[in-house]
Assembly symmetry: C2
Homo-oligomer: 354 residues x 2
Amino acid sequence: MKAMVAEPPKRNSVKLVEIPKPLPKQGQVLLKTLSVGIDGTDREINEGIYGSPPSGSRYLVLGHEALARVQEVGDQVENFSEGDVVVPTVRRPCKENCLNCRTGISDFCLTGNYFEHGIYKLHGFASEYAVSDADFLIRIPPELGNLAVLLEPLSIVEKAVTQSFKIQERMMWKPKRAFVVGAGPLGLLATMILRLKGLEVYAAATREKESLKAKIVRNVGGTYVNVRETPIKTLEEKFDIVIEATGRVEAALEALSLLGPNSVMCFLGVYREKRACEEFGKVLTNMVLGNRLMFGSVSSNKSHFEMGIKDMLEIKRRYKDALNRLITRKLHLSDFEQAFRSEREDVKTIIHFK
Amino acid sequence: MKAMVAEPPKRNSVKLVEIPKPLPKQGQVLLKTLSVGIDGTDREINEGIYGSPPSGSRYLVLGHEALARVQEVGDQVENFSEGDVVVPTVRRPCKENCLNCRTGISDFCLTGNYFEHGIYKLHGFASEYAVSDADFLIRIPPELGNLAVLLEPLSIVEKAVTQSFKIQERMMWKPKRAFVVGAGPLGLLATMILRLKGLEVYAAATREKESLKAKIVRNVGGTYVNVRETPIKTLEEKFDIVIEATGRVEAALEALSLLGPNSVMCFLGVYREKRACEEFGKVLTNMVLGNRLMFGSVSSNKSHFEMGIKDMLEIKRRYKDALNRLITRKLHLSDFEQAFRSEREDVKTIIHFK
């Protein structure tokens, strides 16, 4: 069967290869892949700066954002049967089976020895067929159709937002305004989820006011900020919740000024530039004097995928085609290389498997 | 009556003056001050870099860590009567009466227009008599005696620790090890509170292994780290909770390396040095990949003073004279100037009012 693989840490190693069709073991299912989304992590793996093949393999099958159909179930799989449309989660338990991995929330793995389909020591789903443990599959309601390929990135946002709200149960908190830095898929999905929670939401990016990203923000009732015209540091408004979804240190530093009293800021990126925070003491003092909080959020677990399904249905109901508009390129597997070249108005690129 | 006052932003302005005895208004009590503790905030006010007198006053009566006896109650005060020994909390509601101030938790004030006895726009208790709203008094059980002068700094620690634990209810969290940076009164009190919670606690400072601070840490079952011998960055252990109680940026930066997966770090200081965090991107990425969290905690409210009383009684029971050992200097009011000169083995200096 065909598979889209990379060979980190080699640069520009993404290619299509023929590999054997996998066999589902006990507790696993064989999936027929319908589509995979491509994100920044896939591009970083292709650049050779992230990712790791399974032990003993020279290559890593990509594809951690997947939509698939159950083709065959292994022994002792009871909850799924042939034909079910599913999305697999990404993280899998560490070998040590730590407190969190043991209970299915390996996004909070304590050992750091977790596995991640398509990223870290486990093949992904960007192949005609793939296997996954049945315990980590999410059943997709038919109403969602192909949109469910967005469920994995949405699950990242669901974790970030849920964690923010859970954290703030530490105090009396009635958030009114949220700011999302970045209007890529994560930023736009965060904008939608925060709008569903009834917040006034600002989303900022570098695209002009008439760009697709700006339109999607307004489409869901948010306020779009073009940071080339209105740099973040010129904004006077303060926010109860700030989500940093650019992965850029400079944007993160600027966004610190948006934090109101008792606010929470969530970071979602891998911040690679070497850049100093010149007045770190001021950042800390500002946190202290205003009971401010910052945290990082990584990966997601089944509960976040399940929240994502509910919220996708609600977004469809309220904002009609807002989710569809995120999918700006649909490529056939044979055109996979285009997915690794970014295009100006691109939001989310999907690769379809026939 | 005599009062210890300062005139921020004047430098070295602390002096004793004669001022009129105040009168309790409706809902207030007249307090006869028994003792006040002196801390870093008092010293910063004396240095002219913090604090603000009440509107219309040239001077600010100091003393936000106080122990007092009720001398007289104003109209409509029902819960206190003459002779009650009390500790007043420090923060008072903002004029706007924001959501949090309205409900007695002005340590989470949303407007920033709160008042603080002895610090910000309200006189403190370092005078023979003082007034406070009765709603913000904590009754002291006789068993605690003069030790209750430590209740205000303990309340700061109670807030920091309670917030840390509340925040972590966001996940499955079974903390085992805590690290406290700094062994001043806040650091030592934090060490005690975290020990009461059953944690293995490390506390670090610059004093030698046979210093009083080191002995107090060991006295409560903690591990003392002399950072001159064992710099924080050489430690390999990782911690579930880190409390930064030095107020120094350099210590804060070093302590970031102590954070284990899913950990929480609390900052308690006002960080005045101008120092950069050279690799801010690394700090953020580390937060993200390990679900790490940082927050600042300021002031405290009645609930934290009440926790403090319970915990003081428990510390006395378990660790005998550990709290008494924190009080290293007891000065008479006339010797107040000594309190603003730090002494090598000093932990907490108390000024007694006869």
